[in-house]
Subunit: 110 residues, 2 copies
DNA sequence: TTGCTTCATTGCAATATTACGATGAATATG
DNA sequence: CATATTCATCGTAATATTGCAATGAAGCAA
């Protein structure tokens, strides 16, 4: 039905999947990488940087902002976006725990 | 149009998003966590463990297998699944690089 | 005020994802 | 052989995602 049955999973599992899903599109990966690379706010030139139409970029930014990974500040007619370092760290902690599950593994079977 | 424009992004960005997307569903997160927790092959009881119908589980397993994160071995009428540690490590390296972008950041702006 | 720039929102079309019943393939058991 | 078990695949319905043209809102400049 196109609808995930989130109620049968743990909060942690749902949280991991929500963050992972936002990284599940190359445009959002590219936006975040650009924000980190510039190492400061990005004011306006994201549409030229990524090769998608302005409404599309705006929509991706909205999703990133909704999860708290970036924050936008209005500056005249422009909006400046940058990474929310605090929330990025929290998300990173959650995903690192998931990705590092394999360190506890002892046996090999297959 | 529901179709990602992968051609305008780098191979690395597309790869990151492909792996992230597979973690973008709590059922697949739960399956992987269970495989790690059991620390050996899982033969058959995944449908009982996760609360979804058998065809649905089968479909999620197929996606995980397609990306190489798990491997399945036929054992009689059962199929035993386990983590592909080698590919998991490669995937982890790719995502860690992405998640750890923030360590290089010096300035704060917003 | 008029026009320009920048970004958000709306509306829509195309495609993808999720979930499951029904069915099929393969093996084991009696 | 007949039956049961286990898992994959097919088909389908419901919902989500992606992308963009059109439009709206807000500030700036002349």
């Amino acid at each position: 039905m196109g609808l995930s049955k989130t109620e049968i999973f743990t909060d942690q599992q749902n949280e991991i999947s929500v963050f992972a899903k936002v990284f599940g599109h190359p445009a959002r990966v590219a936006i975040l990488q650009h924000l980190f690379k510039i190492d400061t706010c990005v004011c306006g030139d994201l549409v030229n940087e990524i090769g998608l139409a302005q409404p599309t970029i705006s929509q991706h930014l909205k999703e990133l902002k909704h999860l708290g990974l970036i924050k936008g500040t209005i500056e005249g007619t422009r909006v400046c976006y940058c990474i929310d370092h605090n929330n990025w760290s929290k998300m990173k902690q959650l995903l690192l725990e998931f990705l590092n599950q394999d360190v506890a593994i002892s046996t090999e079977c297959c």
